[in-house]
């Protein structure tokens, strides 16, 4: 029979091996919180060679790719992250979202991309870790970035917490109401740990956003820099200057509505545009551990068979097209799924390039294989299946004897 000291918890949890190496996903090291990415140099005990590597060290919004172990950041939409194959966009990579038609789902995705950066930046206000760069649009557009989605349970919890924080007699009595015996047997602690296990290893990697809401405190210049596009070489210079000024942060560069005459009013020649995109890629590769690029372009203005778009696609690491359904198909879906409105999608999502995989020579084109739906709190992507009209009712009547 063995005896335990009185202060010790009976049948406490067995210590887990923290920091055990895994082939793809590095686990939490002892001196950091769960969900913080640690660079290989840091894991090996070495010091980061460049300032930009510091941006990755201990960043709660970075996790290794499930395919290549390269550090990735979330695009703000978990479904887009999955489609990219790495569960995110590898840092130092770029994504081009193309859209046909008069809809503007791509701008929603741009907002999610930037909002995710702001959400990461605000996790620990004393240690800002992310900076957003918005090209071509101003602070007013940035004020529309969506806020983090709060479910009904979270809202209730918030209310309860608010009530508990108020000074009242009942609150003071409740504070000293802990069950000491339960504590002795570690029941409270065990309950907390079982909760922790269910949380993902990278709990802050991505958030769910409510696109009908806005960030309660609009992003300020310390977390989002708006860069005008009146002169593209100057714009490039300013983007690079901003990256240099944020040496220990991940910099998310968003270029929404690229080449849209509403935003790009100055006359710009095609070679100038190509030089700008090439310059953006140069910045990405110059600061590979710090910068990610998100650009959207409308294909009605510049279709895919336009050679300029062909060249731009060559320079991007990943290319995704949003192609909303034509009205006939949309009507058919509404008719078929009249009792299941959740199944009605908004369009096809085509994949043309994927980061790292396409570069290595893999053929990643997936046309008409996915469909998307822009919901209030999620940009949903599912495998596309053709809706089939149910005509059984008529057949049944014929078969009746």
């Amino acid at each position: 029979m063995s005896f335990r000291r009185r202060g010790e918890i009976v049948s406490g949890p067995t210590p887990q091996l923290v920091g055990a190496p895994s082939p793809l996903i590095p686990r939490a090291a002892p001196n950091r919180r769960a969900g913080e990415y640690v660079s290989r140099a840091a894991l090996a005990g070495g010091t980061p060679k460049r300032n930009s590597e510091n941006a990755l060290a201990n960043h709660v919004g970075v996790k290794p790719s499930i395919l290549t172990s390269q550090p990735c950041i979330s695009t703000g939409s978990s479904d887009i992250d999955s489609v990219l194959g790495h569960q995110g966009l590898p840092v130092g990579s770029s994504i081009l979202i193309e859209e046909t038609g008069t809809t503007d789902f791509a701008s929603t995705l741009s907002k999610l991309f930037l909002a995710q950066g702001i959400a990461h930046n605000r996790i620990n206000p004393s240690q800002p870790n992310t900076h957003d760069v918005l090209v071509g649009l101003d602070q007013n557009w940035a004020k529309g970035l969506p806020g983090v989605y709060k479910g009904s349970k979270e809202r209730k919890k918030e209310k309860v917490q608010q009530n508990e924080s108020k000074v009242s007699v009942s609150n003071i009595v409740n504070q000293s109401n802990d069950l000491k015996i339960a504590w002795r047997y570690g029941l409270n602690q065990r309950k907390n740990e079982s909760d922790d296990d269910t949380i993902d290893q990278y709990p802050h990697y991505n958030n769910q956003f409510d696109i009908t809401s806005v960030l309660t405190v609009a992003p300020g210049p310390h977390e989002l820099t708006c860069i005008p596009n009146d002169n593209l070489p100057r714009t490039l210079k300013r983007i690079e200057d901003t990256v240099i000024k944020q040496p220990n942060k991940i910099v998310r560069i968003a270029v929404p509505l690229f080449l849209n005459p509403l935003v790009y009013q100055n006359e710009t020649s095609a070679p100038e545009i190509l030089r700008f995109v090439h310059g953006l890629k140069q910045i990405l590769k110059k600061y590979p551990n710090q910068v990610a690029l998100f650009m959207t372009v409308n294909l009605d203005l510049y279709p895919r068979n336009n050679p300029l778009i062909g060249y731009i696609e060559l320079l991007f690491d990943s290319v995704i097209e949003l192609r909303p359904f034509d009205p006939q198909l949309h009507d058919l879906m509404e008719r078929v799924y009249k009792n299941q409105p959740a199944k009605i999608k908004h369009g096809h999502l085509n994949v043309y390039k994927l980061p790292i995989l396409s570069e290595s020579g893999l053929m990643c084109v997936q046309e008409m294989e996915y469909s998307f739906k822009n919901g209030r709190r999620r940009f949903e992507i599912e495998k596309w299946s053709i809706p089939v009209e149910d005509e059984e009712t008529n057949d049944d009547k014929k078969l009746e004897f």
Partner: protein
């Protein structure tokens, strides 16, 4: 329909003597064109050609290559940075001292001087094989014209074997009425280049769309300039998996 799993894996063979790159021939400098579509990047083929040049081996092949002669390599890209290629080269077992990367991605203005300097340096080890990826970007990033670019490439070709890797997407190959149009310039450049090349590799996806067991088609063909060594014109199907292994099959 047969799938690649039913087919026997083949070796990459370019010349009649089962070699991949031509032996150093003082009288003939090869100009090779590697054409690709955006969905079938030729990175794996570039690495295979570089490996064959540096070590005389080829990671794609099961049987040893007949001609094991080696030559230094000068590699320059206007669309991809050095890190990307260094990562790809890491799979090669051997000393990469004979591999020189010229950074045209970050500074392309004095591209010709930079490459020529490296070619002169590497010439001490033998006639170098020079790879230039996406030289067509120079037509739009700088003020150079198609004819001037071709003249400079031809001048370079007098000192080395030249491998030009270029995109041949449909959107870039359509002539238009405007002479300043991207597609017109690109198509003119590639057509003129094809007339000056001795060997053409072409990579494209399957016409029928995406398949799980085939990545694309590789065609090896003669250029319009004759080659002293007979080229085996052939079509392959190839399969690349996520681990980076490449398998070739006869079409």
């Amino acid at each position: 329909m047969t799938s690649s799993s039913d087919l026997q894996q083949q070796d990459l063979v370019v010349f009649e003597d089962r070699s991949i790159l031509p032996k150093s021939n003082p009288e003939h400098n090869y100009c090779t064109l590697v054409l690709y579509k955006a969905s079938t990047r030729p990175t794996w083929l570039n690495v295979a050609l570089v490996e064959n040049s540096l070590f005389g081996t080829c990671y794609v092949n099961k049987t040893p290559v007949s001609d094991r002669s080696t030559a230094p390599v000068v590699f320059a890209s206007l669309s991809t940075d050095e890190t990307t290629y260094r990562k790809q080269m890491a799979r090669l077992k051997g000393d990469l001292a004979g591999f020189k990367y010229v950074d045209l991605f970050n500074s392309y203005q004095d591209w010709y001087t930079k490459i020529l300097l490296e070619v002169d340096r590497q010439s001490k080890l033998g006639k170098p094989n020079v790879f230039i990826e996406n030289p067509e970007f120079l037509l739009f990033l700088t003020d150079i014209t198609v004819d001037k670019l071709l003249a400079q490439l031809r001048k370079l070709n007098t000192k080395c074997n030249l491998f030009l890797i270029s995109s041949s997407d449909e959107s870039l190959m359509e002539y238009s009425d405007s002479p300043d149009d991207f597609a017109t310039i690109h198509a003119t450049f590639l057509t003129k280049l094809a007339h000056r090349s001795s060997l053409i590799f072409s990579l494209r996806p399957l016409r029928t769309g995406r398949a799980e067991d085939v990545t694309g088609e590789l065609t090896i063909g003669r250029g319009l300039i004759g080659s002293p060594k007979k080229i085996v014109e052939r079509e392959y199907l190839y399969l690349i998996n996520k681990e980076g292994t490449v398998k070739l099959f006869y079409r």
